[in-house]
Amino acid sequence: MSIIVNILSSFKREVHEVIHDRLYLTSLLVMPVLMILFFVVMFYRGTIVSLPIAVVDRSDSVMSRRVITMINATRGVDVAYEVLSMDEAESLMLSGRVSAVLYIDDDFEADIYHGVPTSVECYISGASVSAAGVVESDVQLAVRTFSAGVALNRLQASGLSYNQALLDIMPVNFHTYTLSNPYLNYGYYLAPVFMFMGIVIFTVLMTIYAVGRELHYATAPEWLSSASGMVGAALIGKLLPIAIVMAIFMQLVFFVLFVVMGMDCRGSYMMLTLGSLLLITAYQSVAVFIVALTSNLRLSLSLGGGYAVMAFTFSGITFPTMSMYGFARAFAHLFPLSYFSDLFIDQATRGVGAVRSIWELVALAIFLLLVPIIWRCFKRVVSDKTYFKKD
């Protein structure tokens, strides 16, 4: 019973600290809300539409205008400029005003009528991979459809029926089925992990701040005495308010994703919640480990902040971990966010059974062992005055 009383006593002291420290209050309660709001607004639309491209139509014919109209009708591309020369078009590309340039040669229409294969040249700026992917697939699809139409007309003109002509030009019909995120929504793909990363940053920084400030301002004896000198109870009482707030924010993120942004949760919500709690406590363990190791608030904030920010890259959401160098793949295992983002994708997006995500939960739980590993060092740091007031 005395442990619970001591935890509660430390908890109350921490809540009092939060309320009376404006920086603590703002960082714990206001900034995470701003962060979530930002990502909701950023990714609410979710799709890349109307990327500006330029056209150099040397043919200026019915056929060239038809293919341009078909390209312009795609969702991802907008023919924003029609220019006379490639020099003009290149200048538009170099100044970042267009993502691609289409070039249609003088003989485009004549070649089509004379049965000579011709082409639509597309120069895409690879400086933005996300834009290039959209432009490439939309333009390619439009040109292919246009080309099929030309072949279809020609075969019909040679005496084949429409159906026979269609079978000749498309002997293999392929069907694509996208099992998760079928609308290929960038928001569903990127927003969740961005928001989780935000929560992770605040969890790490707030935990380091909560513990580190007791050393920095030499108030650790007062903190420990609030828990009758029981270091374990004092630590749990201190970490609990942050964990509760961050757990609530994770629920807010889930609400935003599944209700406001309309994303499906195809798997187990319970697993997501359990995973989110383990994610928060795993990062709190890392934060305690860092403070114990450095016993310096500012250095801990630098190291912890850097570690938390890097987690996004190594979660593999932007560039898949499986395609990284071997040691980068190994490094990715040092970030709890990597496991949680896998768990989230599996449960929310792919809807795999709950059992398949147990390994991720175990991996997250392993990070909790950092506290017992560093415990002796931690006890010494919070009890010995020589570790206080380090700048």
Binding site: L94, S95, A127, S130
Partner: protein, 388 residues
């Protein structure tokens, strides 16, 4: 210290503030190098290749095996498994053993030989768009190539001439060329933006750290003239131009070539652009630094904003994907303009005149923030050492 030497003494003080404080040195000198190397290692492989897919081949004929050979030879995909049934394939898919499934139903070859349309299904995973795109591209290319071969055979059997067949198989070809980053490497795409944002973030946090420390130690608010304020601000900016200039020389001269990131910039153009950027970012950082009263505050309040700032530039996620007003807010940050200017000059090899609109805005922004920094310095300058 005399008034005439204020410029030199400020440079000395600022250098000692950076190099005499482990925290400031870690942020302003080492963080940019560490982050650049770590992110380059993560993104250094550039392209997603050999994505493992499974093929359910219910047809099991020479024609279906020919299609599988195409998928196996890549480069985007490799056929890791040949599950016997769709249930097996589903199991492997959900276990992350495979990232796509090509399903060839029985009767595939029969349909081709009978002059009918054969069906092939491709099951994709949209939860990772880069992997999705690679599998889709490879599957589409191989299936279309197979289709084209069959089309030729059918047209030959219809007694068409070679010239007619050539004009019918692909009358209009899509001829795509990717410029500046031909392999669409992810690292080449994202690293320039990351580098620019790291410069700004380390400057903002580092300058705030130094300023709070100065306040803690030398809590005397001086009443300096506007001209003195100009000299102090310019001296500080020069210090950061030198420090970041050295870091950027190492990064663009060593890290970039090691990882093979494209660099087509003219040295002088890059120097001019980066100098303008560092002036703007340092000026804003100096102005903001006076908002903080405690050394831990910049970490707690600014660190999370790195990714939002990166996104606001409208390059890693094109500006067409988010609201215009949000993009407009981002334009108030030097990094947003500098990201685009650096990609254009550094990656695409544009000249200063090609990027004149970006550079003009960067100059304007820099001038406004420089004026702000000078005013703030005049009214908030804190020092013991400068006798004014």
């Amino acid at each position: 210290m005399g008034r005439r030497n204020i410029f030199i003494s400020t440079i000395k003080n600022e250098l000692s503030a950076v190099f005499g404080d482990a925290g400031a040195m870690l942020l302003i000198v080492f963080a940019i190098l560490i982050y650049t190397v770590v992110y380059s290692v993560a993104y250094g492989r550039e392209v997603v290749t050999d994505v493992v897919i499974g093929v359910v081949n219910e047809d099991n004929t020479p024609s279906s095996r020919r299609l599988i050979d195409g998928l196996r030879s890549g480069p985007n995909t490799t056929v890791g498994y040949n599950p016997i049934s769709t249930e097996d394939a589903e199991d492997m898919f959900y276990n992350n053993d495979i990232y796509g499934v090509v399903y060839i139903p029985s009767g595939y070859e029969r349909s081709l030989l009978d002059g009918c349309q054969a069906d092939v299904a491709v099951v994709l995973d949209g939860s990772h768009l880069l992997v999705y795109r690679q599998v889709l591209q490879q599957a589409v290319a191989d299936i279309l190539a197979t289709g084209a071969n069959v089309e030729v055979e059918r047209l030959v059997s219809n007694n068409m001439s070679a010239a007619d067949i050539t004009s019918l198989v692909q009358p209009v070809v899509y001829d795509g060329h990717v410029m500046y980053n031909p392999s669409l490497g992810y690292g080449s795409f994202v690293m320039p933006s990351i580098l620019i944002v790291i410069i700004q973030q380390t400057l903002f946090i580092g300058l705030a750290l130094i300023n709070v420390r100065r306040r803690d130690r030398d809590h005397i608010i001086l009443n300096i003239t506007l001209w003195t304020s100009v000299k102090i601000t310019l001296a500080k900016i020069i210090v950061y131009i030198i420090i970041y200039g050295i870091s950027l020389t190492i990064i663009l001269g060593v890290v970039w070539p090691i990882f093979g990131f494209p660099y087509a910039g003219q040295t002088l153009d890059v120097v001019v652009m980066m100098t303008m950027y560092i002036i703007a970012a340092t000026s804003l950082g100096l102005s903001l630094s006076h908002l903080f009263r405690r050394r831990e505050a910049p970490f707690l309040l600014l660190l999370w904003s790195s990714v939002p700032i990166l996104l606001l530039a409208g390059l890693s996620l094109p500006k067409e994907a988010f609201p215009g007003w949000l993009y407009a807010i981002g334009e108030l940050l030097p990094s947003s303009i500098a990201v685009r200017a650096f990609v254009e000059i550094g990656t695409m090899g544009a000249s200063l005149s090609d990027t004149s609109s970006e550079l003009l805005r960067l100059t304007l922004l820099g001038a406004i923030y420089l004026f702000l920094a000078i005013v703030v310095e005049k009214y908030c300058s804190v020092s013991k050492k400068i006798d004014n």
